[in-house]
């Protein structure tokens, strides 16, 4: 009997370790995007006969949502699944322009403080009409503290009131101009839900939110699956009746990447997300498997290593440049991601039309790095070969989120650790689970970090690099991990946020990116990886602004 508590504790410890090690991508905070209407479709080009009907099985490796209403919290797993049943007000085309969805038209006042939206005629799947009062109820729901919204709340922060002009017209009043408003409203995290559904209360609404989307949630077996059936009355963004070809979707949660792939190969499931780079390569190399690869990078920020310029040693731009010049991530990316990830030289995702790429700033140059460190006063070397200054070692604490960095990315960090050692940097990589990792960031216990951030549109620059992003949210979270506090950059970002002129906004954002790159605050790595493997399905729509998949036009081929 005396051994009992020990055993129970051992199980708890195993859970802790597994939680820390499991590679299942975790919810990442924030995420905006606009949805493109009816846009690009990625379908395999096979000639296999398609058939109407059938239930598609999707296996997700993302953390299981704790609530199916993406207003609550607001993370990527919620965006993935809610794309099937909720729709945002507007969409986003590949060129970055906003497209109509539940709002058919919009105008903004001269001062940028009043937006008028004309609404499409739609009915929520619970029979409630979609109208201006529904839009008002949704924005108020996002802003209600009891909703506990994180992402959507930030997206509509500047909206002070939604005025119901009439059934088909909603007027947004803003506290200050917001050039990113349409991009913010294009995200799943601000998608429209039935006000009748919301009125049921959070507990009930979390289980089955009602939207205007192509599918309807009919059941949720925790840790296992969510069941969805086709909405026969679905009307698409162009106003055409477009019921899905599928009968429904079984949305399963399978945390282990190898098991997901095995289930796809053996035909148990039709679509998987978050495949590991080696399985993508294996699937592409063997045509007999009949597996199609969808590479749909997320919008907003690129994946990068942020150097904490708020404290020593990276408060010195020469030390930051030396780190970046000696890191040499290119060969590692090629080897570890086997061409599934392309090196980036921009603060923004390659899907953002205004992204500025500066490859020349990131070329590997160990001599330059050594010269810079000598100039910065890190002239001595200790017995282990690391540089020192006044007896202190040139040391970089690098907490790694094991839930957000896939094994290949963690291996890449180890290669960078070895590369910068040549220049005399000591990098201390510490793997942490999500909660402990955010706690380390909140306590400023890092000199380098790689934190994903999904948001639709270049406004993500303001969140990640504006000095206001160094002020922590009440939870301790702050988005500006590089700790950039640059008045000129702030001015550029503020102006870009306030302007109503698209060309001027693009120009300001390009200047801002140059300033970020030339400040050597970040080492860009690659787009936020967002891969899917598909077998026996055609007509998958990849155009959602947050790069999720929609199965409205999909059908099974065998």
């Amino acid at each position: 009997m005396r051994r009992l508590p020990l055993l129970a504790v051992a199980s708890a410890a195993t859970a802790l370790v597994l939680a820390a090690c499991s590679g299942s991508p975790a919810p990442d905070p924030s995420s905006p995007s606009d949805a493109a209407s009816g846009g690009s479709t990625a379908s395999d080009g096979t000639d296999a006969p398609t058939q109407a009907g059938g239930t598609l099985v999707y296996a997700s490796g993302d953390a299981e949502p704790t609530c199916l209403d993406p207003h609550v919290g607001g993370n990527y797993p919620q965006a993935l699944i809610s794309t099937q049943y909720l729709e945002p007000l507007v969409g986003r085309a590949a060129d970055g322009t906003t497209t109509p969805w539940l709002a058919t038209d919009w105008t903004v006042s001269e001062d940028g403080l009043t937006w008028d939206f004309t609404l499409a005629e739609r009915t929520f799947t619970d029979g409630t009409p979609f109208d201006a009062a529904a839009v008002k109820a949704n924005i108020e729901h996002l802003q209600d503290p009891d909703t506990g919204s994180s992402t959507g709340y930030l997206a509509v922060e500047k909206v002070t009131e939604v005025e119901v002009v009439d059934d088909r017209h909603a007027r947004f009043h803003l506290s200050e101009p917001d050039a990113a408003l349409l991009e913010s409203l294009a995200q799943q995290w601000t998608a429209m839900q039935s006000p009748t559904g919301l009125a049921r209360g959070m507990e009930e609404n979390c289980l089955a939110p009602a939207g205007t989307g192509p599918f309807v949630v009919t059941g949720w077996t925790p840790q296992q699956q969510v069941d969805l059936v086709a909405n026969p009355d679905y009307v698409d963004a162009t106003g055409e009746a477009a019921p899905p070809l599928l009968d429904g979707i079984t949305w399963r949660f399978v945390p282990d990447a190898a098991t997901r792939y095995a289930a796809l190969v053996s035909g148990e499931v039709d679509v998987i997300d978050n495949p590991q780079p080696d399985t993508i390569t294996a699937a592409e190399a063997d045509a007999s498997l009949g597996i199609e690869h969808i590479d749909n990078p997320r919008p907003g920020s690129v994946n990068r290593i942020e150097l904490n310029s708020g404290q020593t040693p990276f408060d010195d731009i020469r030390v930051r440049e030396a780190f970046i010049r000696s890191a040499n991530p290119g060969p590692g990316i090629e080897a570890l991601f086997s061409s599934t990830a392309v090196p980036s030289f921009s603060p923004l995702s390659s899907v953002e039309p205004v992204a500025v790429s500066r490859e020349e700033q990131f070329t590997y140059d160990l001599d330059a790095a050594n010269t810079l460190l000598d100039e910065a006063g890190w002239t001595e070397r200790d017995a282990d070969g690391y540089r020192t200054k006044d007896g202190a070692r040139l040391s970089v604490r690098f907490p790694v989120s094991t839930n957000q960095s896939v094994p290949a990315e963690q291996a890449l960090f180890q290669q960078i650790q070895a590369n910068v050692k040549e220049a005399g940097f000591e990098v201390v990589l510490t793997p942490l689970d999500l909660g402990a990792w955010y706690a380390a960031l909140g306590a400023h216990e890092y000199e380098a970090v790689s934190a994903p951030y999904t948001k639709v549109g270049p406004d993500v620059l303001r969140i990640l690099y504006h000095s206001s992003g160094t002020e922590p949210a009440p939870s301790g979270y702050f988005a500006n991990h590089a700790y950039v506090r640059d008045a000129e950059l702030d001015a550029l970002l503020d102006e870009a946020s306030a302007t109503q002129d698209a060309a001027q906004r693009a120009d300001l954002l390009e200047q801002a990116q140059v300033r970020i790159l030339e400040g050597y605050y970040i080492l860009p790595l690659y787009d936020q990886q967002n891969h899917f493997l598909v077998r026996g399905v055609t007509g998958i729509d990849t155009s959602n602004p947050v790069a999720t998949l929609s199965f409205q036009t999909a059908s099974l081929t065998d």
Binding site: M1, R3, L4, P5, L7, A8, V9, A10, S11, A12, T14, A15, L16, L18, A26, P27, P29, A59, A63, E64, T66, C67, V72, G73, G74, N75, P145, D146, G148, S149, S150, T151, Y153, E203, P222, Q223, Q224, R252, F253, V254, P255, D256, A258, T259, A262, A263, S266, E268, V269, N403, L432, D433, L434, G435, A436, Y438, A473, P474, S475, Y477
Partner: protein, 333 residues
């Protein structure tokens, strides 16, 4: 004047002692879980607000803290959790906002199915191996080298099986039987018997290794005892000696270990349920630990601890049946 406690009083004392031990177990586990989750870092309020890294506004954070008592001093939060555990009112999940008891109970079924099937299969494999060894030891003459080889192979298999990590074994079984032969699905859902096979085998093989080693040792020990020699002298064959005499002797310590085996299965379930995408207590523990969903972790661990207590009582009773000495003394060994 001293009196010998009557049978009913003795039973009462035993029940009281049992309840005391159960309370002690629950208190220790609840305390360790509480401390471990605090030591792990991260703020539980984030579980309410969409998980770690939440950017929720000040009002939302304040509302969540107040609602779940997270604004109280740490010692009060500890006492509150303890009180909830003791009254079995486990409260609501931070992340899901549904009663913890519902979550834990619905996860308990699939894990119990998995643990019981693995325990049965593990015992069958261990019994088979022990019988094989006792048969192989009994062969003589020209076949003696074969017998020795069989013993060596079984012993080697048991040692190897007992050290195989679950995640590795599971991955190999999936590659072999789900992707290669396609006999069984790679993922497992409750209600699907075919889906139960690979997770069960993954858990049962290392367990069979442990149980088999222990059982084999006991059988070997018993075979050299006088009662076994007597039985053989009366003309009993190896199978009869095994099934009637030596197994019974060897089974006692092995049965006593079944409580431990359950612990082994639960910690294995943490890995196996995640690997096969199967709902259950293990996966609930992983997910809620990641979320810092304190009430759910607490509830799941306490329920596991209580099942331990229950199993220990049951195994003690079974031991009593197998070994009359235990029943008369009533002592813990």
């Amino acid at each position: 004047m001293t009196t010998t406690p009557g049978p009913s009083r003795r039973a009462l004392l035993r029940v009281a002692a049992l309840a005391g031990r159960a309370l002690l177990v629950v208190w220790v586990t609840a305390t360790v879980v509480f401390l471990a989750l605090r030591a792990a870092g991260g703020d539980p309020v984030e579980a309410v607000l969409g998980g770690p890294g939440s950017q929720a506004g000040p009002e939302a954070v304040a509302a969540a803290r107040a609602q779940y008592g997270l604004d109280l001093p740490v010692w009060q939060q500890y006492l509150l959790q303890l009180w909830r555990v003791l009254t079995l009112d486990l409260g609501d999940s931070y992340a899901r906002r549904t009663p913890v008891l519902d979550l834990v109970l619905s996860a308990l079924g699939p894990t119990a199915a998995l643990a019981v099937s693995a325990l049965v299969l593990g015992w069958l494999l261990a019994l088979g191996a022990a019988w094989l060894v006792s048969w192989a030891r009994a062969v003589s003459g020209r076949l003696a080298p074969v017998g020795r080889a069989v013993v060596a192979v079984v012993r080697g298999w048991e040692v190897l099986a007992s050290v195989l990590p679950h995640f590795w074994l599971g991955a190999v079984l999936v590659a072999l039987f789900a992707v290669g032969l396609r006999w069984f699905p790679a993922t497992s859902t409750p209600g699907s018997l075919a889906g139960l096979v690979l997770p069960t085998v993954t858990l049962a093989i290392p367990l069979a290794g442990f149980l088999g080693q222990l059982l084999g040792e006991g059988v070997g020990d018993a075979e050299s005892r006088p009662f076994a020699t007597t039985a053989r002298a009366r003309g009993a064959g190896p199978t009869r000696v095994f099934s009637r005499h030596t197994l019974r002797h060897a089974a006692i310590p092995t049965v006593a270990l079944t409580g431990w085996a359950f612990g082994f299965l639960v910690s294995g379930a943490v890995v196996v349920e995640t690997l096969f995408g199967r709902p259950g207590l293990g996966r609930l523990l992983v997910d809620s630990t990641l979320q810092r969903d304190v009430p759910v972790v607490m509830g799941a661990i306490v329920v596991i601890a209580l099942v331990y207590v229950l199993l220990t009582v049951v195994t003690e009773a079974v031991e009593g049946l197998l070994d009359p000495r235990a029943a008369t003394t009533g002592e813990d060994r």
